[in-house]
């Protein structure tokens, strides 16, 4: 049986929801970061699916860009998290609230 577009969109929406919930409830910056990546991947999946079912390559082009940017973003994001840990000895977001004080 051939997968339908609905299945792809559902999978993409589920992935996005998981990622979003993760961002909402988790306290560890690293996990939040991974959840963000998950949301990105969900969006990528939706693009590929639409591209495929429309028979055009537009979405695929977007995906290449997103992958490139995401790679750079991961490098920068991880570096920030490492630097954050070095200075504050923690990466728990509920303790990173010195701007409020």
């Amino acid at each position: 049986m051939k997968p339908t577009l609905d299945a792809f969109v559902l999978l993409s929406g589920a992935l996005f929801a998981v990622g979003f919930l993760g961002v909402l409830v988790r306290r560890n910056t690293l996990v939040i970061f991974m959840c963000l990546e998950l949301m990105l991947v969900a969006a990528t999946l939706a693009l590929v699916a639409f591209s495929r079912f429309n028979g055009t390559g537009d979405g695929d082009v977007f995906v290449f860009f997103i992958l490139t940017v995401a790679a750079a973003e991961v490098a920068v994001g991880l570096a920030i998290i490492v630097a954050l840990f070095r200075t504050r000895q923690t990466i728990q977001v509920d303790r990173l609230n010195s701007l409020r004080r």
Partner: protein, 608 residues
Amino acid sequence: MTPLDTALLVLLAPLASAAVITLLLARRGSAASALSVLAAAIVAAGSLSLAFGGGRFSGSVEWLRFGNFAISLGFRYDDLAALMLAIVAVVGLCVHVFSLGYMHDEPAKARYFGGLSIFMFSMIGIVLADNLFMMFIFWELVGFSSYFLINHWRERKSASDASKKAFIVNRVGDFGFLLGIILCYWANGTVGLGELGAAHAAGTLAYSRLIPLLLFCGAVGKSAQLPLQVWLPDAMEGPTPVSALIHAATMVAAGIYMLCRISVLMVPQALLVIAWVGTLTALYAALCAVTQRDIKKVLAYSTLSQLGYMVAAFGLGSAGAAMFHLTTHAFFKALLFLGSGSVILGCHHEQDIFRMGGLRTRMPLTFWTFTVAVAAIVGLPGLAGFFSKDAILALAYDNNPAVFALLALTAILTAFYMLRLWKIVFLGNPRSEAAGHAREAGISVTAPLVLLAVLSAIGGYRGAYPRGFEGILSQVPEAGGATHAVVLGASLFVLAAGAAAALAFYATDGTDALETRLPGVFGFLSSLRTSFDTAYDAYVSKVQQRGALILNFIDVVGLAGVVVRGVGGAAEVVSSGLRALHTGRLGNYVYWFLFGVAVLWAYAAGIL
């Protein structure tokens, strides 16, 4: 050096002196005084060489340009300016030298001499200015230096009050002056003195009654004419040499000089107003002078009265007569003030004439020079004041009998109060310990007295002046025939009447004979003197103060209350709400993000 270079040097030497004193010599009094006197000497040498050299020139450079409106700075050195510059320079030098002795023990000597220098700079600027804007700039600078020097002893409340009064009253007059300048520019398209003169000669000048009268407002303030005369008597709080230089000989005469500079703008109706203002000032001030106890205040009212003569002379149509009287007055009034300074110094800063007396033998040089000055001001034949005052009286006799009568009456009063002063100060026995121990001061005090006494004696003879001043002095009206006889007779009569009355009436026993024998007259004259101050006080406290209170209410309730507090309060309410959102928890922000996405989606879907 070309004449232009010399004029620049004369203008800038005092400015340089003031700058160096202020920046470098503020704590070194003797160096500052030496520098200031040097600058005054340069000014005197430069302006006399210019006057004798006979070169007359004018020229200007553009200073500021706004669109097609330009303000230029320039010199206009004609006979009028040459005469005025020579007066300012000679009297200025005398006063500088006199100050060396008078202010010898003064702690703030540097400030004082710096003030004198900045005054010389400003005054010379007025004299040389070739357009009304430049004149106005220096006019204000003169006002500032006058304020600064009246306020020299600033720890005295009376001195600081007097300086503020002088400054504010002058502002009132200057407002009219500025309006006049603007109106003149609007009507003629220029405020250059040369251009105005050329337009007058070509018959293209726009005449109006308003322009000369508004410009005259400036002279009313600076030359202390009615009704803005109130500041000058109070200005005697300043050091006596300052009174001699600024409040007798030069600055207060700047109003007359300015009128002579703009004489082409005059129309008959304006001249009539000017003549009457001058005449009434002359009479009013002479009446006030009779009751004064303070030696400097007598001289201050006498200055007002003589300035009234000059303004009246100008109003009667003769700038020459006004400038001639200005010249002789500068000499003898500076001498009177410096003489009074010498007396005050001798009597250890006693200024009440009824606590002096007997100074004739104790201060002979001061006595004789002062006597020359008194003789000159009352118009003793042969001395300077006789010629210039007679020229004005003759002019009045020919043109306006009512003005003549009032000026002749003023002349009687002049002789009366000057002889009163002279007798009470110098004759009789000393009436206080200070007067008993009075001594003549050193050469720097007496030398200027002698120089000015010589000038007061010969200043009435045309031949005593360099030929360069002929342009002005030839305009002095000569009384001929019947007028001459009447005026000569009248002036000798008023002199004799006033002098004899004063000498017979006043005794040298330390009481004011007028106060004890004619208390009604004394009371009337005293109330006349204070009437203007009382009226202005009433106006300020009853009218202006109420207006200020209303404005204050609007400010406090309207501006500060509703606008300023209101805006601040609204910002505070909003910000306290926004602050609650700033929890510092990442999750909360994500919820808000989610909320925003939901709103955006709702908007895009057309639900909102």
